[in-house]
């Protein structure tokens, strides 16, 4: 590569880094002050893109940029006032779920307003040319982006250092409790931070439109990028976000330059995984001021009489279902049984384990692909391929668990997300093995399991048996040791428990059961695609667990049934089913924070 080619790629990387910084700095600011992981940040970016594409022909491209940012500031402030303010003292997970409901609402709002087609943005007036750099050309607009990112960084730094508002933001980021104790009015600080963060995301989206079209899928892609930058830089650190955006932007640009396009989808997550393993608090982040205890009023995860009765009745009905149910309902019930196991395996991590995973779908997907590949390409019998699914996921989860077990809370969630995205990009790009973006089709088991009813019975037996085993294990000595490790790591160690090993085993076991669910899923659908392990499925799992209630063993399977049934019914009957689910989730979070299972189970003491 010649010197001028290197320079050109460097400039490309810089332009990409500027966009990443605009996107990520707002997320970091919001997290730093409010400790809310705003899943909807990518949606704000997406709305920014659409709004700018809409406004540019009407008021002109350049005026559209500040107007979009301002509009998004109002959207962010409104989201804080209407939803998140009410959840200020709720567990982190519920806040997360609420922001995910906002993702669904924003997605369908964009669909309703602007339709499903991608929308191309205009060329920027006055900057539509390009500079000659050696043998290549560098667009003038990208040069503008290269300047915009650092300018925003400087402006933001000045605001944070020189204004009273900035001082309060920095104080709250350092130590929120102390700032509150000093009498700072947190309510308006939070609203303000949300407004500024959303404006930055909106500006990021608006300035991206000459480079890429506005599309509906941008929200989750953007949030994944933003998470990576924020985590690599250190949560809450604006200089960290700037540095991380530079690193990620340049690494991506040089991947393309070196002909490693295939790496681009996954490389930022590889960067993140490396950084987190070496520096668990990010490049410029610092360990949290005080450890947050992860205790949970879980009432011991024992099923009481009413819950046992309910579970038994449900099991009996499910066993008898093949006698009366239509083929269509059989397929749906199979899916419910399989996803109930997926939710139960995630709950083992979240509830008794106290470990939040944003990437649990990876193990579901690895199991599904293992079963599919062995059946289709290696000609294994269905039962053997099915047995290999949990084994493959177990192995993958052991490796991931070894990296993850020393991290806590948000960083753990982010590293699991990163690893899942790496798995996803492999599945998406390894055409010869995984079928790439199309996935694998024709995964029908032969022989006894070919019949829909028979497959349902087999899936129900395996998934039900596995769920019962998980429940049993939660009440076993190992399950107690796991809860003890969550409740008080220091005390657990001093009664002789190896906390890391215990959490590692639990992580691997959760992967194993997710893999079994994935294998069963692949054969029930007859196909498998990268969607089975993308971030949407991971979030679906979280929604199931939280919808059902994280404090009860019964909750996750109930939540799985409810969400799967809702998705199936709404997807058929309602044009904007995502928004309907989002609204349902939001209503449940605000009105029924114990989850649906809280209705039948005991109240926490």
């Amino acid at each position: 590569m010649s010197a001028s080619a290197v320079l050109l790629q460097f400039l490309n990387g810089l332009a990409g880094a500027s966009s990443l910084f605009l996107l990520a700095s707002g997320l970091s600011l919001i997290f730093g002050v409010t400790r809310v992981v705003n899943f909807a940040h990518g949606s704000l970016y997406m709305l920014g893109m659409y709004l700018a594409v809409f406004l540019a022909p009407r008021i002109g491209f350049w005026p559209a940029l500040p107007v979009t940012a301002l509009a998004l500031a109002f959207v962010g402030a409104a989201a804080e006032l209407v939803v998140l303010r009410r959840l200020r003292h709720a567990p982190e997970l519920l806040q997360l779920l609420a922001t995910f409901a906002l993702v669904l609402l924003a997605r369908d709002f964009a669909l309703w307003t602007w339709g499903p087609e991608d929308m191309l943005g205009p060329r920027p007036p006055g900057l539509s040319g390009a500079f000659e750099v050696g043998n290549g050309r560098f667009p003038e607009y990208d040069a503008f982006l290269c300047l915009l990112g650092p300018s925003v960084f400087v402006a933001l730094t000045l605001v944070l250092r020189r204004t009273r508002w900035g001082v309060l933001v920095r104080a709250a980021t350092e130590d929120r409790e102390m700032t509150g104790a000093l009498g700072v009015n947190e309510r308006w600080l939070f609203t303000g931070v949300f407004a500024v963060g959303a404006a930055l995301a909106g500006l990021g989206g608006a300035t991206a439109i000459p480079r890429e079209p506005a599309s509906l899928g941008v929200d989750l892609a953007a949030i994944a990028d933003a998470f990576v930058v924020v985590v690599v830089g250190g949560l809450g650190s604006i200089p960290g976000a700037f540095l991380a955006a530079l690193v990620v932007g340049e690494v991506k640009a040089f991947c393309i330059a070196l002909g490693l396009e295939r790496l681009v989808l996954g490389v930022e997550f590889i960067v993140m995984a490396i950084v987190l393993v070496g520096r668990p608090w990010g490049l410029l982040g610092r360990p949290p001021a005080r450890a947050v205890p992860r205790r949970m009023d879980d009432a011991g995860f024992a099923l009481d009489g009413r819950e046992r009765l309910l579970a038994s009745v449900a099991a009996a009905l499910l066993l008898l279902a093949p006698l009366v149910a239509s083929e269509y309902s059989m397929v749906l019930l199979t899916e419910i049984a399989v996803l109930a196991l997926f939710a139960a395996s995630l709950h083992l991590l979240l509830g008794p384990g106290g470990m939040v995973s944003f990437g649990h779908a990876a193990y579901f997907g690895i199991g599904a692909y293992a079963a599919g590949i062995l059946l289709l390409k290696e000609g294994w019998p269905a039962w053997a391929a099915l047995a290999a699914a949990p084994a493959a996921s177990f192995a993958a989860a052991m490796i991931a668990g070894a990296l993850c077990a020393r991290l806590s809370d948000v960083y753990l969630a982010m590293l699991t997300l990163a690893l899942a995205q790496i798995a996803w990009s492999i599945a998406y790009q390894w055409d010869s093995l995984t079928g790439g973006s199309n996935g694998l089709i024709g995964l029908w088991p032969k022989g006894a399991l070919a019949d829909v009813h028979a497959y349902y019975s087999a899936a129900l037996a395996l998934a039900g048996g596995a769920i019962l085993f998980i429940w049993r294990a939660v009440g076993s000595p190992f399950g107690f040791a796991l809860r003890a490790s969550r409740d008080s790591q220091a005390r657990a160690e001093t009664v002789g428990i190896d906390v890391r090993a215990t959490q590692w085993i639990a992580f691997s076991a959760a992967g194993l059961f997710a893999g079994l669910a994935g294998g069963l899923y692949a054969f029930s659908k007859g196909s498998i695609s990268p969607e089975s392990l993308d971030v949407t499925r991971s979030v679906d799992g979280l929604v199931m667990v939280l919808l059902g209630g994280v404090q009860s063993l019964l909750g996750p399977p109930v939540g799985a049934a409810l969400l799967t049934w809702l998705q199936d019914m709404l997807a058929r009957e309602v044009p904007y089913w995502r928004a309907a689910i989002g609204a349902t989730v939001l209503a449940l979070v605000l009105l029924l924070p114990q989850g649906v299972a809280g209705l039948v189970g005991r109240r926490p003491q």
Partner: protein
Amino acid sequence: MKLEVRELRKSYGAFAALRGVSFEVRSGERVAMIGPNGAGKSTCFNVVNGQLRPDAGTVRLDDIDVSGRAPRHLARLGIGRTFQTAETFASMSVRENVQLALLSHRGRCGSLVANARCAFVAEAQALLERVGLAAQADRASASLAYADLKRLELALALAGEPKLLLMDEPTAGMAPQERSELMRLVVELAERDSTAVLFTEHDMDVVFGFATRVLVLHAGALIASGTPEAVRADPRVREVYLGSA
């Protein structure tokens, strides 16, 4: 049982927190470690309990070198401990706390299918009786009064049948009446099994009322060691605590 601490040294940057501290603790002794703020008590204590690794020096338990070993290894070798702010398992009932401690100490936490709630019920009850919590066995531990939480923590430490019990500020955060009750309980329990106790403490009534021997640290070095009476009369101790005037 003999705990033998030899020439412990530990620095934080340029600040030497421990400058060669040596002492011994034997079965049946109750040893209080005292000293003004910054004297090195916490550092010394945390080296002994495995939370900190010394720069130099050794900690031996019955001639086994345990310096720098993880707390869970020390637990298996017979060192129990309590924390300055009581640490228990908040999501569990009082009985379950003790059941878990018994399961762990007896190496039974590998089981995935046994029912933990049925394990060691009688022994857990007996332990709770010894610390006076039998009547509260079914309560959620998170709902206990602080003094009772301290008793529960003691039961957790005793579940491992320790030869040595380390107590970091055992009576911090308690009312005077509760302090002496807790310490009387500690004495009673320790004497029954001739368990050695090593504790740090700010409250001098507790120190002089319940210790059989007192160690005084000052500026990272041991300046006195002896019976409470001898230490009380030691001129250097008086100088450190009262000033040279």
